[in-house]
């Protein structure tokens, strides 16, 4: 029975199991279908009722002295006349009177109280006995064209009713002012447009999705999280709590298959839940007639947008399910799992929230920020902004990397002795170094976890180090050359030492056979030939970003000014050694501890490709990664891969720094030019010979021990 068959069996069983659970059904179906419409209708009605009641309530306005009371009453009466005139005009224009009949005239709603002093007025407002106070400078209505009456309006901003009267009152002043200005212009014989040098019309072109685009990605995170929590707990901690875990662990099934099956179920349920949520919200908005509220231009949500959201849901669900599963695998009971889940949700919401800020952009570190990059990508897609293919791939591949690491962690923790048996000492055994067993290779989880933490960190270093206009590219290159051994080699070594992994074996520090050394030299010297041609094909298909071409040119100029030996050390050798030790040593070693040969080689090569961030070069880098991985696997030693990589890099450096060397051999490396067929033939022939040489695998230490014995 193949792994896929097993995963399918597990998937089907777990899906049936979880869908038969009443709690899942309630969380997944009842909540969205009943609760959302209820909440939405309810809260909207509450808002409408509150607005209506404000229109119907009685308000108290305080003035100082009876003369001012008369003045205000006069103004209110006049305003009422102005309003009714406006209504008639509107009704003549259009029958649409929805808005105009909104509220009764202000005069009918207010009661005016004359108070003796201004101070008493203030006290009354603070005590909310009066909603608003008004003080006129002059006690009479001033109509002359050169006169102005000062008006002070006192209110408590925290009082809803005070605010309501204030806004109604300022409307009143606007209307009366306008009328007075018209009269003044007539009396002064001024044209109608005298005080209106501009006729400004603000046109809002925002699509209906725009508001949604800002908030929806965050809502999506919440929806998928809520969908994933319960199944993640039920399928991991639930097994242990119900006592089914032991029977499961004695079945001849690798833990990784169990976890992948469970992970797929959690993802499915999360997607189903989120889809139902989305459908319910959409339906409520449409059938409830609330689409005006969400869509600013009143067109409602296009169906295409909804489909787009559904597609965006999938990577969200994948990442969230993997994360949930990882933390829940650590838990022994439902309660414990729930405790672990809460901080994870908060941790996921933080980058999500950052990305939801209007100023955040899908660039730089945000491209690789877990969760945050998905939020931004979804937003860009919803807003219909053009998304670069490279950005899209970076987001999707890094999300895949993070999810993969989380699944690997889940597989390591799930069924672990100290998690299965509460009685087998405390959880401390997982971290107590004394109890670690020495290991030959790092675990998949360890290497994937480190690499997926390194990925955003390295991306950050790279973007922090990209030279600004006034910075010297050389010193930045040097910094990078120092950081690389530290981050790619030293930290993994420390990590392995702590977990008692044999560094020597994990990184394959074994003396290689002469055959494999020879193969490495052939590959290192000649891999640039097929790589060059592959690059050309890729440029023709995808095109080379202009910025990259410029950067490469300025880099070439910088490098030519430096001593060749130093350049080769910094650009060719140090990265080659560091990258090989990380990707072919630590990562491929970790993967090979439970994956098969080609899975380990291809997966580590793909991650190696992603790490180069230049996604239009992904295919070339990943292919090189496969060749180097093959060489390392066959020779059981890291050295051939290091030698081949360093030679390959050196050839590339020389081609940049001194193109004349190549020209002397009759090779022109101009943009877009294919290599002469003789060079092609020799180069590819050498690579094939190298691979044939590498084809015989070195015996494993045990085998050679038997031979010598």
């Amino acid at each position: 029975m193949s792994s896929l068959d097993r995963i399918r069996t597990i998937y089907i069983k777990e899906l049936i199991d979880i869908l038969r659970d009443r709690r899942t059904l309630i969380a997944m179906i009842v909540v969205p279908i009943v609760l959302y419409p209820l909440l939405m209708v309810g809260s909207l009605q509450a808002v409408t009722i509150q607005a209506k009641s404000l229109d119907e309530e009685k308000y108290v306005i305080g003035v100082v002295g009876h003369e001012q009371k008369n003045l205000l009453e006069y103004m209110l009466q006049w305003d009422a006349k102005l309003v009714s005139q406006e209504h008639q005009a509107n009704e003549n224009e259009a029958a649409d009177s929805e808005e105009t009949k909104a509220a009764a005239p202000l005069g009918e709603l207010v009661k005016i109280i004359a108070i003796k002093t201004k101070d008493a007025l203030r006290v009354n407002i603070r005590e909310r006995a009066i909603h608003l106070g008004i003080v006129f400078e002059s006690n009479v209505f001033l109509k002359a064209i050169d006169q102005q009456n000062g008006v002070t309006i006192l209110s408590d901003e925290a009082d809803v009713r005070g605010q309501y009267v204030t806004s109604r009152l300022s409307d009143m002043f606007d209307r009366i002012s306008n009328r007075l200005v018209e009269q003044r212009k007539k009396r002064a014989a001024l044209p109608a447009l005298f005080d209106q040098p501009f006729a400004i019309d603000f046109v809002n072109l925002s699509a209906p999705q725009s508001i949604l685009g800002q908030i929806l990605p965050l809502i999506l995170i919440l929806m998928t999280i809520t969908g994933a929590i319960y199944p993640a707990i039920d399928l991991t901690a639930g097994e242990r709590e119900r006592g089914t875990l032991e029977s499961l662990m004695v079945c001849p099934v690798p833990v990784i298959d169990l976890i992948v099956g469970k992970f797929l179920v959690v993802t499915t349920v999360a997607i189903m839940g989120a889809t139902l949520n989305l459908a319910s919200v959409t339906a409520t908005v449409y059938f409830g007639g609330f689409d005006m509220l969400i869509a600013t231009s009143g067109q409602g949500l296009p169906l295409g947008t909804m489909l787009l959201i559904l597609v965006c849901l999938i990577p969200f669900a994948v990442l969230m399910s993997a994360m949930m599963l990882a933390v829940c695998s650590f838990a022994r009971t439902f309660k414990e799992a729930q405790n672990y889940v809460t901080p994870v949700i908060l941790a996921a919401l933080l980058p999500g929230g950052m990305a939801a800020l209007p100023a955040a952009k899908l660039e730089g570190v945000m491209l690789v920020m877990p969760v945050g990059n998905m939020v931004l990508l979804t937003r860009e897609l919803l807003l219909g902004a053009p998304v670069q293919l490279g950005h899209l791939l970076t987001v999707l591949l890094s999300t895949t990397l993070y999810a993969g690491a989380a699944v690997a962690i889940a597989a390591t923790l799930f069924g672990k002795e100290s998690v299965v048996f509460a009685d087998s000492g405390s959880m401390k055994t997982l971290f107590s170094r004394k109890l670690f067993k020495p290991m030959r290779l790092p675990s998949v989880a360890m290497s994937l976890l480190y690499v997926s933490l390194l990925f955003p960190a390295w991306f950050f270093v790279q973007s922090a180090l990209s030279p600004g206009p006034n910075e010297s590219a050389v010193s930045l290159l040097q910094t990078s050359a120092w950081l690389m051994p530290l981050m790619f080699v030293l930290l993994p070594m420390l990590m392995m030492t702590f977990w008692k992994v044999s560094v020597k074996q994990a990184l394959s520090f074994k003396v290689p056979s002469v055959r494999h050394l020879f193969s490495a030299i052939l590959l290192g010297l000649c891999m640039w030939v097929p790589a060059h041609e592959l690059n050309l094909i890729q440029y023709q298909l995808l095109g080379m970003p202009q910025a990259f071409a410029e950067q490469a040119e300025s880099m070439a100029a910088t490098l030519q000014a430096l001593p060749l030996g130093g350049v080769i050390l910094i650009i060719a050798i140090i990265p080659a050694v560091s990258e090989e030790l990380l990707f072919r040593g630590f990562l491929m070693g970790g993967l090979s501890s439970s994956a098969r040969k080609w899975t380990a080689i291809i997966a580590s090569a793909a991650i190696f490709g992603v790490f180069h961030f230049l996604l239009f070069k992904f295919i070339v880098t990943a292919t090189l990664g496969i060749l180097l991985g093959y060489l390392c696997w066959q020779s059981r030693s890291i050295w051939p891969a290091i030698i081949a990589h360093a030679l390959h890099n050196s050839v590339a450096v020389i081609s940049i720094v001194s193109p004349t060397t190549f020209e002397r051999m009759g090779i022109k490396l101009e943009d877009g030019a294919h290599l002469p067929w003789t060079v092609l033939l020799i180069g590819c022939g050498a690579v094939v010979t190298g691979l044939i040489l590498a084809n015989r695998r070195s015996p494993s230490p045990q085998q050679s021990a038997i031979v010598t014995a």
Binding site: M1, R6, T9, I10, K13, I16, D17, R20, D21, R242, G243, T244, E246, S247, L248, M249, V250, C251, P252, V253, P254, E417, V420, F421, D423, S424, G425, S426, K428, T429, S432, L435, K437
Partner: protein, 254 residues
């Protein structure tokens, strides 16, 4: 050939105060093909820990376990293929029916869908589970659950069965049914390790008995041998006498 060989098994745990406690202490025993081996001892003697190490659920701190020629630490997947394991308080998937559960475990053991169905139906027939095979496991009684559990352990027809307190908490009738199952399996040539603290049950069932106390094997042999050794007739008296003796020895050493 020995189907099961426990070779100097040791399992130590660290107690909360940081000390090390040996739950199983240099335990060695062998079980031949077609035998029922009774692992007897009071609660907390280390029976369950021993069985978990035999099945590969726990890694021994020292020693090794060989099942059907496979080393548990080196070839865990092969061991899992020859082993049926039944724990004392195994749960079942509440929301699956008994039949679905059996089919699922058959598939996990690598059977094709058709094979799994046939195997499940065969066991349902053979173990008399027909009346409740289509009910969800959550709705079964304790005795019915345990019968389904035994069917689950037998689903791949493994040559070795490890059963940890299979009759714990069952009424007399269910108890009898389950003991009959186990005997039938032995008669079909299976090697069975049975842990229990019901001594009369062991007297009735086991071909060979190992007495385990405080993590150590304090006596081993057929019932007759144990009788001769201790001069007692009934297993419970034998048991008490041997434990008593071993405590005396320990006190003397100290």
């Amino acid at each position: 050939m020995d189907m099961v060989f426990a070779d100097n098994l040791v399992k130590s745990f660290s107690t909360p105060d940081g000390k090390e406690k040996r739950a199983v202490d240099r335990l060695t025993f062998r079980v031949g093909e077609g035998q029922i081996y009774g692992l007897l001892g009071p609660n907390g003697a280390g029976k369950t820990t021993t069985l978990r190490m035999l099945s590969g659920l726990m890694a021994p701190t020292g020693g090794r376990a060989i099942l059907a020629g496979y080393d548990v630490a080196e070839q865990p997947q092969e061991v899992k293929r020859v082993l049926g394991f039944l724990t004392a308080n195994t749960g079942l998937y509440q929301r699956l029916t008994a039949r679905e559960l059996l089919i699922y475990f058959a598939q996990l053991h690598g059977k094709t869908k058709q094979d799994a169905h046939d195997k499940a139906d065969h066991l349902i027939e053979w173990l008399g589970l027909k009346d409740f095979a289509l009910l969800r496991c959550g709705a079964l009684s304790t005795g019915q659950k345990q019968r389904v559990n035994i069917a689950r352990a037998l689903i791949a027809d493994p040559p070795i069965l490890i059963m940890d307190e299979p009759t714990l908490g069952l009424d007399v009738l269910s108890n009898r049914i389950i003991l009959e199952y186990i005997k039938r399996e032995r008669d079909r040539g299976k090697t069975i390790i049975l842990s229990t603290h019901y001594l009369d049950e062991a007297e009735d069932m086991c071909d060979n008995i190992g007495l385990i106390y405080d993590g150590k094997l304090v006596a081993e042999g057929t019932l007759d041998v144990l009788r001769k050794q201790s001069g007692e007739e009934r297993l419970s008296n034998i048991f008490l006498k041997i434990i008593h003796a071993s405590e005396k020895v320990e006190a003397a050493i100290k």
